[in-house]
Amino acid sequence: MKGRTIFKGKAEGEALVSAEPISFYGGVDPDTGKIVEKDHPLEGQSIADKILVFPQGKGSTVGSYVMYSLKKNGKAPKAIINRETETIIAVGAIISEIPMIDKIDISQIKTGDKVKVDADNAVVEVEQ
């Protein structure tokens, strides 16, 4: 699938997919990489080293700093895929240097799929 580059880089790994937006500020623990937002579909799961797939971000712009923290703590996702991104996640990917592509039909990816992200060329390959 072809999308739009938000931040360059290449990564491959296991997909973790959410159909709901993710708020990094207040919703993800920067020390463990676990999603802590109450009643979130991915509550309790760790995003560390995953290819994290979700529609877009939500919440405070401080979320960009939480993503930076995750990267510094070694708990950041390997890459991020969004359906249609907004400022928090885009800025977070850039300052943390996490490869990121958006404008992808995320309904085509399931948790557990092997995914290759080539954010230099804005291409996502899914092995199902």
Partner: protein, 398 residues
């Protein structure tokens, strides 16, 4: 996007790492929002200052930028997590104070004026009609756009900081006249007299305008302080950071009056009050100054507190230069003699208050949202008189 020679230099890293990172952020945002170019800004207001919001991550990021980052334009700062001079009196612990000071130092190193207020327009950063800005802090953004006729998007902390370090912002959204026209007309028939009335109005309009820019008409004669609190409320509960009021705001006459209409009677205002307040009469925290109090508000607080003593923790939040004026005019002494505290550099939204109080009485509709969500408190909203009465009597009169 078309970049100027200087913008390209900044992007390449020739002018340092902070500007390189900042241009990368702005370029990506410009791409996302379809901007054709960057536009220079007159000033910047930076949010993301309280250590309780930034945490170690934010502090690290700012310290990294401060290594070689210097701002290109007048840049002012949002409130921090504490009163930088008087933090002990407000119950802040010294570990937090130490971290918060390091955040402020990082900003200062970059040449930012550490004003620590959400009302920069009251203390020396007052935009003129037509100025392009990159402001964050939603109440200030809404006031600047609507009341002053300046042009700014609702920036986030990192994007505002990037604009400060480069002097530019992507030219999209509210920087373009065609995006500033109103789509929904609120006919206000209710009588509005107090700050909380205007906050309730903002609550109703914010919740009902959805993504549309509101146009208001009716028997509206807001004071500057009422416009300030309305700005804060309408953007907290809605997604637009621009409103127009017939015969009051500078751009209102530029546009066709929208066809879609909603009438606001006293009923809608009263219902808004009901939704903004929780039931009950206990109060253990009274909080005035969201947005930060003007000198006129401090005068009113002093008049109400004169000769009285408060039974409940009471904070009046304001910008430091305004407190200094209040000192000179004798208001501060009256307020502090009552046992109430004047809090500078901070406020009840960004201070680490969770777990300290159960119920907050305030004049501010915006504050209700944040003290409920962030600090887990119950709320009572009312006029300044109602709030000071609660502080003095120790209970809320329904």
């Amino acid at each position: 996007m078309e970049l100027t020679e200087k913008e390209q230099k900044m992007l390449s890293g020739e002018l340092g790492n902070a500007k390189k990172k900042s241009m990368a952020i702005l370029l990506a945002l410009g791409k996302i929002f379809g901007a054709k170019n960057m536009i220079p800004v007159k000033s910047v207001q930076v949010a993301g200052v309280s250590y309780s919001n930034l945490g170690e991550a934010g502090l690290e990021y700012l310290s990294e930028l401060a290594k070689d980052g210097k701002v290109e334009v007048l840049t002012t700062l949002n409130p921090a997590g504490m009163d930088t001079e008087n933090w002990q009196a407000l119950g802040i612990d010294s570990d937090f104070a130490d971290k918060q000071n390091r955040v402020i130092e990082a900003f200062s190193k970059m040449g930012i004026q550490t004003t620590c207020t959400c009302t920069p327009y009251l203390i020396g950063n007052k935009p003129e009609q037509g100025d392009h800005l990159a402001w964050s802090e939603s109440s200030a953004v809404t006031y600047a756009n609507s009341v002053l006729g300046a042009y700014t998007n609702r920036e986030g902390g990192p994007s505002a900081l990037a604009a400060a370090l480069t002097g530019v912002t992507p030219n999209y959204g509210l920087h373009l006249d065609e995006n500033r026209k109103p789509d929904i007309h609120f006919k206000v028939e209710a009588e509005l007299k107090t700050l909380s009335d205007y906050g309730a109005l903002g609550y109703f309009i914010g919740n009902n305008c959805k993504a549309k820019i509101p146009y208001l008409s009716g028997n509206l004669k807001p004071t500057n302080d009422q416009l300030k609190t309305f700005s804060a409320s309408v953007v907290t509960y809605g997604s637009q950071s621009l409103f127009h009021i017939k015969d009051i705001t500078p751009e209102a006459g530029k546009f066709e009056i929208p066809k879609e209409e909603i009438t606001i009677t006293q009923n809608e205002i009263q219902n808004s009050y009901k939704e903004l307040s929780d039931e009950g009469t206990e109060v253990d925290f009274v909080s005035i100054g969201c947005p930060h109090a003007s000198i006129d508000e401090l005068k009113k607080v002093a008049e109400l507190l004169k000769g009285k003593k408060v039974k409940v923790e009471t904070w009046v939040a304001t910008a430091r230069p305004i407190k200094k004026k209040a000192d000179e005019l004798g208001y501060s002494k009256i307020i502090e003699d009552s046992g109430a505290k004047i809090a500078c550099d901070t406020c009840m939204v960004v201070a680490p208050l969770k777990g300290r109080f159960k119920t907050c009485a305030t004049t501010s509709a915006k504050a209700c949202y944040y003290v409920r969500g962030k600090h887990g408190m119950k709320t009572r909203i009312g006029s300044l008189e109602d709030c000071i009465n609660a502080a003095v009597s120790g209970g809320w009169e329904q």
